[in-house]
């Protein structure tokens, strides 16, 4: 292509592309405005469900929450935003148990990293998308998440037909502490028999709820609960 024709073709393609560009912006001029007029649009405002604005502890209709006061959230919080205050209570059968007293969360310190929610073993807390958190004094940012007079939801008993044999050694490995005196091998059925006597006895911990005079299903259930709770404790350590 000669330089002269190049010059003129360049000129005209240039003009054409400028006109195309202007037609694009002309169309853009009449598009719907994307600005969200915030205080006015509160009724129709859509905030993503995953938006993390406020930590909450869901309570059901019986004013019960799922928090076991294990304190994992408190330990995982990078800013020390969470304080779990618990008290030890004694159950009817004479066992000591951690019960949540107050669950404190300081919004002003929180970075909304979600680590507390991710690590909670009982799914007791979650982040809500209620974002209008501005207050006039810093004290109002410190919140108590558990409601007044609430208590922990009792775990539903999991139904399981029979204890599998393979499961048995695992129980012993975890070194479940059950009071040795209460375990009577004679009562327990043969399948569990191999297991229970091997259990290492540590009299210090008495959390287990094993009732010795039980039919086989009950006993296995009890084992499972022991397993679950001891897992909590090991993580704590």
């Amino acid at each position: 292509m000669s330089s002269i024709s190049k010059y003129f073709s360049g000129l005209f393609t240039g003009i054409k592309s400028l006109l195309v560009g202007m037609s694009v912006t002309w169309k853009e001029l009449w598009t719907k405005k994307v600005t969200q007029q915030y205080p006015e649009n509160r009724d129709t405002l859509v905030i993503s469900d995953r938006f993390r604005a406020e930590l909450t502890m869901p309570h059901d209709e019986n004013n019960e929450h799922a928090c076991t006061a294990c304190g994992i959230c408190e330990m995982n919080c990078p800013n020390g935003t969470i304080t779990v205050n618990f008290k030890m209570v004694e159950t009817e059968d004479g066992k000591k148990k951690k019960v949540l007293d107050t669950y404190k969360w300081d919004l002003g310190m929180c970075t909304f990293c979600n680590l507390c929610v991710l690590t909670c073993p009982s799914d007791a807390i979650k982040f809500e998308n209620t974002f209008e958190n501005a207050v006039f004094t810093r004290d109002k940012l410190k919140q108590q998440l558990n409601h007044e007079g609430s208590k922990m939801r009792e775990k539903k008993k999991v139904e399981r037909p029979a204890a599998p044999v393979a499961k048995a050694p695992v129980v012993s490995e975890v070194k479940v502490e059950t009071p040795a005196a209460e375990v009577k091998p004679a009562v327990v059925d043969t399948e569990v028999k191999a297991v229970v006597p091997e259990v290492e006895v540590k009299p210090t911990v008495v959390d287990a709820e094993v009732k010795v005079e039980l039919p086989i299903e009950e006993a296995v259930k009890a084992d499972k609960e022991i397993e679950a709770e001891s897992k909590d404790e090991t993580t704590e350590k």
Binding site: M22, T25, Q37
Partner: protein, 369 residues
Amino acid sequence: MQEPLEISNLTTWLDTTLRGIMPSMWVILIECVLVGVALLAAYAVIALILIYAERKITAFFQARYGPNRVGKYGILQSVADMIKILLKEIVKINRVDRFLFFAAPFFMIVASMLTFGAIPFGKGLHAVDFNIGVLYVTAVSSLGIIGVLLAGWSSNNKYSMIGAMRSGAQFVSYELSAGFALMTIVVLAGTMQFSTMIEGQRYCWNLFNGHISSMIAFVLYLISGHAETNRGPFDIPEAESELTAGYHTEYSGLQFGFYYLAEYLNMFIIASIATTVFLGGYMPIQVHGWEGFNQVMTFIPTYVWFFGKTAVLIFLSLWVRWSFPRLRIDQLLNLEWKYLLPINLVNIVVMVIIVLSGLTLTDLFPSLF
């Protein structure tokens, strides 16, 4: 003057009353002061309106609402901004050339004010009607570049310096094209006086009268005028991503306000000169033989026509500004020296041929135009 809405009715009445009660020397003195005050007030008010309009239109081009909190639809936003800028501190910069640093904004604002004074806003709303109006406007509007260069030089700051140098290169280049485009129309109109030029466009705007050549001159004038205002794709002198704010980096408070005002007013001045020269200025749309239509059109005051036409051109300038990306300095100078200037030179010759051989629309169809 039959039109009841014209401001010239008011000015004529004022003039006759004053002449009735005092000697004519005093009348002229008082009228000069009044005209000066009116022009200054118009200058400030137009700048405020332009800033608001620019922000709104910019927002619409970007699918936003723009200012909408201060007053209804945000109309008081630029008033609030003005108050803020008036109250701001003028920061003293160490190691600047103090005299030039303080003088530079005045060059800028005086140049744009001088041009502003020569614009015909309406019938009888024309402060000075020079017989060399076009030449005068071209001459004084190019004084503004001294303010820019001085600001960049005296700021003792590399960004200001680079910005000013770029601005100088750009302004000198594009002033040439703008001047040639205006000269093309001077050839067509046969006069440099704005009032005669407008009167000559009563039935046919210069834009249509010289058809091909006028259209090209119009586009060339808009492009080079736009480049002179340092806006839009030609904003390399104040390209904020490379030069912070270019030549006015070191300015603050009212001094910055001067540059800001002058920038907006230059946009208005370019648009209003284009209106006057190409689009018939304040002249209403008139058609030969349609007496009723002409009557209705004349009823709309001339200043409304002027500001309406100017507003369309300002919108065009904003449209261009938000459509195209910034040019590099070599591209910018390429556009001027390799494209606009040769086209302009050829165009002016074409226009001379059109006029001499009687090919303008008024010559071809004397009954229509």
